[in-house]
């Protein structure tokens, strides 16, 4: 396991610190918190799809599971520390089981996508039909379509009455995102990460080299789900209500879109895509002249047509063009690939 080079870690932390300090001057911390949470969610799919090659239509399932696990655990426990851990473990375990089911069945590509989509739909339909009083876990009513409101929100560990909200909550989200980012970076630098990218590029080759492709994919999938679960738990704390909409197809599609718009195969891309598009949605809601669904749709179509690789790779290419006068010839293959892990 290669540990993250000190220099890069320091740079990341410094850049992050500047951003964390300056961003609240432009956007309210309440809105920033959700942008950071979405960025983490985008990163979770960016990891398993962009680097692991696992096209998951159901990242929202893990996000929702994290949020619901947190809400249910928080109602039953009344303190937030353990529920935060549970919110990461439940989706990770769920993903591990699902991963074993899928990868050991040699499911790949779009078929894998369909399974994850279907599992998300099943979860959504299940949660949606739990409005009756018989659906209770411990003290928590599942609430069906209306969701679960009124659970214990994030508190200083050990002090249930000392809530973390407002500006401190923003800093918690920011620090959590930086930690996750560093973790993902370290993971990708490790042999595990390099082999994962190898599997994405050519599964058969890695398998013939003696790596257990199925187990590695399962582990990566579970890690991604755990990160999504953490984002879900933070979301629950931010919104103070969880609803089945978190599991919806629309939510899953949105995460995929963040990754593509930001740039697959990079770490920063999905994060930027998530935060950028979510902020755009927030801005759009303040106008009432044109139907907002229409505008969102138009933006997506134009994006695919004119910036198909995503923002971050496109900007990186521009950067290279301007810095080195003669860029290396890019291969014409348009498949998304990333030999470099820095975005």
């Amino acid at each position: 396991m290669v540990i993250l080079p000190l220099k890069e870690a320091v740079t990341t932390v410094l850049v992050a610190a500047v951003l964390i300090y300056t961003l609240p001057m432009m956007i309210s911390t309440y809105t920033l918190s959700i942008l950071l949470i979405y960025a983490m969610l985008g990163l979770s799919l960016g990891l398993i799809w962009g680097f692991g090659g696992i096209l998951c239509f159901g990242q929202a399932a893990f996000f929702g599971l994290g949020a619901y696990s947190y809400a249910i655990a928080a109602i039953n426990i009344g303190e937030s520390t353990l529920p935060m851990v549970i919110a990461m473990l439940v989706p990770a375990l769920f993903a591990a089981v699902l991963g074993v089911f899928m990868f050991y069945g040699r499911l790949a590509d779009v078929y894998l996508g369909v399974i994850t989509l279907v599992v998300t739909l099943i979860l959504f339909k299940f949660i949606n039909s739990t409005a009756g009083p018989s659906y209770v876990i411990g003290k928590a009513r599942l609430g069906g379509y209306n969701g679960i409101p009124g659970f214990q929100t994030l508190n200083v560990p050990g002090q249930p009455d000392n809530y973390i909200w407002g500006d401190p909550f923003y800093y918690v989200c920011a620090v959590a995102l930086v930690i996750v980012f560093l973790f993902v970076t370290a993971l990708l630098r490790s042999s595990f990460g390099r082999i994962a990218v190898g599997i994405r590029e050519n599964e058969q080759r890695m398998s013939l080299m003696g790596y257990d492709v199925r187990a590695r994919k399962t582990v990566l999938f579970a890690i991604g789900a755990g990160i999504a679960g953490l984002a879900g738990a933070l979301f629950a704390n931010w919104a103070e209500i969880v609803t089945p909409g978190l599991y919806s197809l629309g939510q899953s599609a949105e995460i995929i879109i963040w990754c593509i718009v930001g740039g697959l195969g990079t770490r920063v891309g999905p994060m930027l895509g998530a935060a950028g598009l979510a902020y755009l949605k927030f801005l759009l809601g303040q106008q009432s002249m044109i139907d907002n669904t229409l505008i969102t749709g138009l933006i997506l179509v134009l994006f695919v047509l004119f910036l198909p690789k995503g923002v971050v790779p496109a900007v990186a290419d521009l950067w290279k063009l301007s810095v080195r006068r003669r860029p290396r010839r890019k291969r014409p293959n348009r498949r998304i690939r990333a030999e470099r892990v820095d975005g």
């Binding site: 096209l55 089911f101 899928m102 069945g105 040699r106 499911l107 790949a108 779009v110 078929y111 369909v114 399974i115 989509l117 279907v118 599992v119 739909l121 099943i122 339909k125 299940f126 039909s129 197809l249 629309g250 599609a253 995929i256 879109i257 593509i260 044109i290 139907d291 907002n292 669904t293 229409l294 505008i295 969102t296 749709g297 138009l298 933006i299 997506l300 179509v301 994006f303 695919v304 047509l305 198909p308 348009r334 998304i336």
Partner: protein, 288 residues
Amino acid sequence: MDYVAVISVEVVYAVASLVLISAGLAIVFGMMKVINLAHGEFMMMGGYATITAVNYGVNIFVAMLIVAPLVVGLIGLVVERLVIRHLYGRLVDTMLATWGLSLLFIGLATMIFGNTTTGISTPIPGFTVGGYQINGYNFFIILVSIVLLVAMYAVLKGTRFGLVARGAMQNPEMAAALGYSPDKIYMATFFAGSALSGLAGAVLAPLVGLVPTSGGAYIAKAFITVIAGGPSLIAGLMSSAGLFGLVNQIFTFAVSPVMGEVALLIAAVILLRLLPQGVTARFLKGKM
């Protein structure tokens, strides 16, 4: 006994409607490997085209079977020329673009039609089986689905266009070398797929409450049916629709509509686990 007859009709109807809502997607995905996430919106537009045509005094059957497929087919043609054409071979990008298109169409439909468009009633009266009333329109949908399957088979197997299309899908370079333009074939195929989506939306319009966001209800089901069917277009469609329709209705009658839907989804998961490439990758190989 009458109840059994009623259930049987409902099962056949469920299978037929799955075939109907999946056919357009199956052609576009099966032949061009484009996942059209705007499929549901194409259906929605088929519904609005029918309603509009009927309001202008067109006969309802003409509106459903001719006007709607043509209108939606033409919209599909425009979409193909402007957007999809640039994205062939890029599965994920086509998904994103068609997702964008689906939102765009929802927005447009909302602006044009608003949210309260009066629908059209079914043109066929209900009828009695023993002590039960059955929706007579069910039989029309079953009939349309059968005709559709037969027509698809006939076109693909029996006509020169079908042969060339199948060839171009397997090996575009070879088709081009033989003097057929893959570009034109893709265009025609996308037109046909969109027209079928429009047809499905039109035929279902008298049975559903049509609003601009109606399309979302179909896309997942159609997608699952098509993928589970596997590589053979018609045999795949028939086998997966048959299986899912049956499972869905049995559980619907035995438990509840929710369980019916969940059973369908679970059946899909199990099916794909056992047959990762879809039904027709293992069985009925080489069929269409």
